[in-house]
């Protein structure tokens, strides 16, 4: 039986962590783009778009991410499409992030006082001009802290993709444990790596919140 040094374990986990990071970035950016598109449908004037996005958000917020991963992985397989684990993982996480980001951003847009809409209307601005010059610049400012905060959820959400066989940090932890028979040590290290990824994000969210608030109080 071969011996594993701690460095062997850490090295393997760090290599797998690259995939966690990559998946997180893809999910967050993809989710952001889809979420922005959904946001405009949600706050737009078309009733159909509003209902579609509302239902979409309720479905994704009302079911566990794990089920969404299973459905993306096995569901598409039913149609004879061979879905690789990375594709199912990326797709499910993008759609899941989009649902939450849309909802976060909708709250930010609706937090802008009605008087801002009325004042810009009374000056003759149309809907798109109001959005672009008055509402979104203000909404964006309050959206930054919760958005960065949500990225932490995305990083932790990627752990679930290990179950459909995508080899990222958690999956690597299982594999390494099976070889070393040191689950506490290995999973402890896995948790530590997650913490190192998430903590700076949480912290920057807090700092941004304080900074943007101060900016708002007295530019």
């Amino acid at each position: 039986m071969s011996e594993f040094t701690t460095w062997d374990i850490v090295r393997n986990l760090l290599l797998a962590a690259r995939w966690t990071i990559l998946l997180s970035i893809v999910s967050f950016i993809g989710g952001g783009l889809v979420g922005a598109a959904l946001l405009f449908a949600r706050i737009g004037k078309r009733r159909l778009g509003q209902i579609f996005v509302k239902t979409y958000v309720e479905l994704f917020q009302g079911t566990p991410l794990l089920m969404q991963l299973f459905l993306a992985f096995f569901g598409l397989g039913l149609f004879g499409i061979d879905v690789p684990a990375w594709l199912a993982a990326g797709l499910a996480l993008i759609l899941w992030s989009a649902a939450f980001l849309t909802e976060i951003w909708r709250g930010c847009v609706e937090a802008i006082a009605r008087g801002q809409w009325e004042a810009s209307s009374s000056l003759g601005m149309g809907y798109i001009q109001q959005m672009r010059h008055v509402i979104l610049p203000q909404a964006l400012r309050i959206a930054v802290p919760p958005t960065v905060g949500f990225s932490v959820q995305v990083v932790k959400g990627t752990a679930l993709t290990s179950i459909i066989g995508f080899v990222e940090l958690s999956k690597a932890g299982t594999v390494v444990t099976n070889a070393t028979f040191e689950p506490f040590k290995v999973y402890g290290l896995v948790a530590l790596i997650y913490f190192c990824l998430c903590w700076p994000l949480s912290k920057s969210s807090q700092i941004l919140e304080r900074k943007l608030n101060v900016a708002h109080r007295n530019h």
Binding site: A113, E118, S122, L123, G124, Q129, P137, Q138, R217, N218
Partner: protein, 242 residues
């Protein structure tokens, strides 16, 4: 020839009829004070003239621009009549100067240099030329309201609607805003203002409209309306006992 024509305007919120057939014609250069208890429909009337509320019956036109509920007609109407609000509603992410420049550039497509010159002129007019680069939260309430007036004036409207513009201000700041309005009235701007400042209404306005339960209850020159109110409702509102 009237500038603002309000004809048989009715407005309902659900089952509650807040305007029950309003007729008012405003001539160019007139300064109209709209007074009445809260809930009498005076603010709603003003908001209708600017298209912030739709009307259920009747018609409103300002210098030929009809109030119709599509964006094109609304824009045409709003270019003719500006509005100033109780809560100032300045854009908090922009400086005072930018607040005044924005709609000129976005709505009228005025080049930036021209819009900036206009903004400086209008801020000068309300006595705030030195606050061009200040953000709204660095200004007092009275200063914010004056910037809001400058912002509306920069669009060169032919009439201005003022919806309780001094009600959110500390007492000592009221006069600086009223002074600006008085000056505008002196320059011949057509004004229609919902106000609780009775003394101001008496001194500056050409006509006073007393609204009661969604109707124009009494209308006339201030000396008449204030000195000899005809209806018991207006007498009670003014606190006159006969």
């Amino acid at each position: 020839m009237s500038l603002i024509e309000i004809t048989e305007v009715k407005k309902r919120f659900g089952n509650n009829e807040v305007l029950k057939g309003i007729n008012i014609d405003v001539a160019p250069g007139e300064v109209i004070a709209v007074i009445g208890k809260s809930g009498s429909g005076k603010s709603t009337l003003l908001r209708c003239i600017n298209g912030l509320e739709t009307i259920d019956e009747g018609s409103i036109s300002v210098a030929g621009a009809q109030l119709l509920p599509d964006e094109l007609h609304l824009k045409a109407l709003r270019l003719k009549v500006g509005m100033i609000f109780q809560g100032f509603n300045l854009f908090p992410h922009l400086t005072a100067g930018r607040n005044v420049m924005l709609s000129q550039m976005v709505v009228k497509k005025t080049p930036k240099a021209e819009a900036e010159a206009m903004a400086r002129r209008q801020l000068e007019r309300v006595g705030l030329a030195h606050k061009f680069d200040a953000y709204p939260d660095q200004l007092s309430g009275g200063q914010q309201q004056r910037v809001a007036i400058a912002r509306a004036l920069a669009m060169q409207p032919i009439a201005l609607l003022c919806d309780e513009i001094t009600s959110a201000l500390d007492p000592e700041l009221v006069s600086e805003v009223l002074a600006v309005v008085k000056e505008l009235a002196g320059e011949g701007m057509t004004l229609m203002m919902v106000t609780h400042e009775m003394r101001f209404a008496r001194d500056v306005c050409s006509r006073v409209v007393f609204m009661h339960q969604g109707r124009v209850h009494e209308i006339g020159p201030p000396e008449e309306v204030f000195a000899s109110p005809k209806t018991p409702e207006l007498q009670q509102f003014l606190g006159v006992t006969h």
